[in-house]
Assembly symmetry: C2
Homo-oligomer: 199 residues x 2
Amino acid sequence: MSKKGKLLVISGPSGAGKSSVVFKAIEGRDDICFSTSVTTRNPRPGEVDGREYFFVKLERFLEMIKNNELLEHAEYVSNRYGTPRAYVQQRLDEGKNVVLDIEIQGARQVRRMMPEAVLIFIAPPSLEELERRLRGRATDTEEAIQGRLKRARQEYQEADFYDYLIVNDDLEKAAAQFNAIIEAEHCRFADWSELLKKA
Amino acid sequence: MSKKGKLLVISGPSGAGKSSVVFKAIEGRDDICFSTSVTTRNPRPGEVDGREYFFVKLERFLEMIKNNELLEHAEYVSNRYGTPRAYVQQRLDEGKNVVLDIEIQGARQVRRMMPEAVLIFIAPPSLEELERRLRGRATDTEEAIQGRLKRARQEYQEADFYDYLIVNDDLEKAAAQFNAIIEAEHCRFADWSELLKKA
């Protein structure tokens, strides 16, 4: 049976282990891919247009916003980043599940633009554990760590519109939950009801 | 983390293999149990009250309906059958996932009484395959088979309010989907949001 893919939006505090969970989950699966973003920043050496990013000029980026060509967009250090709707739709039509790793504001935009997207929040077992992990990285200043913790607490308050929560206290378990969510979402009655009615 | 169980309502045409899917899925799991129904019919030799059924008099059954003590109820060959709400709630509170194998009308009642119940429709791959399976049983008359097929077609039209559809063309796959749905439903954001907010 040919089936469309699902758009999987993942968010969660820095240090929750979002990428680790997804990379673990997609090991050996070829039906899941990450989305490729559009950006206005310049390509770095070795980066290929259409692989790391789709590189565009600001003028084109603004046009894409205006034409509803972006599922979501945001600004980061004076550069713009967005998710190209047509590209995502094409992968979904091919049957790929597309993963989008974005922040809560972006997820809110995606929910509006594509209500059938599946929103997954990935959290660490506790804020204490998050703090421990952030300190373990040893890359952030004390101020940056406090900022991240404050931000995490704020995100927890705003994440109500997500569909699922994965608590990443065990990577294997979290990855299995991620895959179970995909499996379950592919059994959504609404996706199949037309088929049944034609029976 | 202590967690409540989920109420899993399964329905589908006779011959879809509902019981086979669930029995396959719960092999080796002790966190899933079937609900025990209340009935007004007399116990058969060997049946134990509280095991096969809770046996009650009609008067008590009607009182249970009146007091909203039943999640759903139906009549079958002049006997009444129902699902005791308190019993189900107790198992859910113990952390058990409770399976309820009932018809669409009952599922509709459960959705009203317990909106958080998870409704799963199990269908055969096609009506042709269903017909083949029904004939394979060799227990039904031609008239009964036609009746079951007509009923299945009608059920397909009415099942829109179910959350999930499992197409049982492969027992292992269908059982895995059943388990994935349970796993995913235990990640429902709404079940955890209070926990996050207290973080």
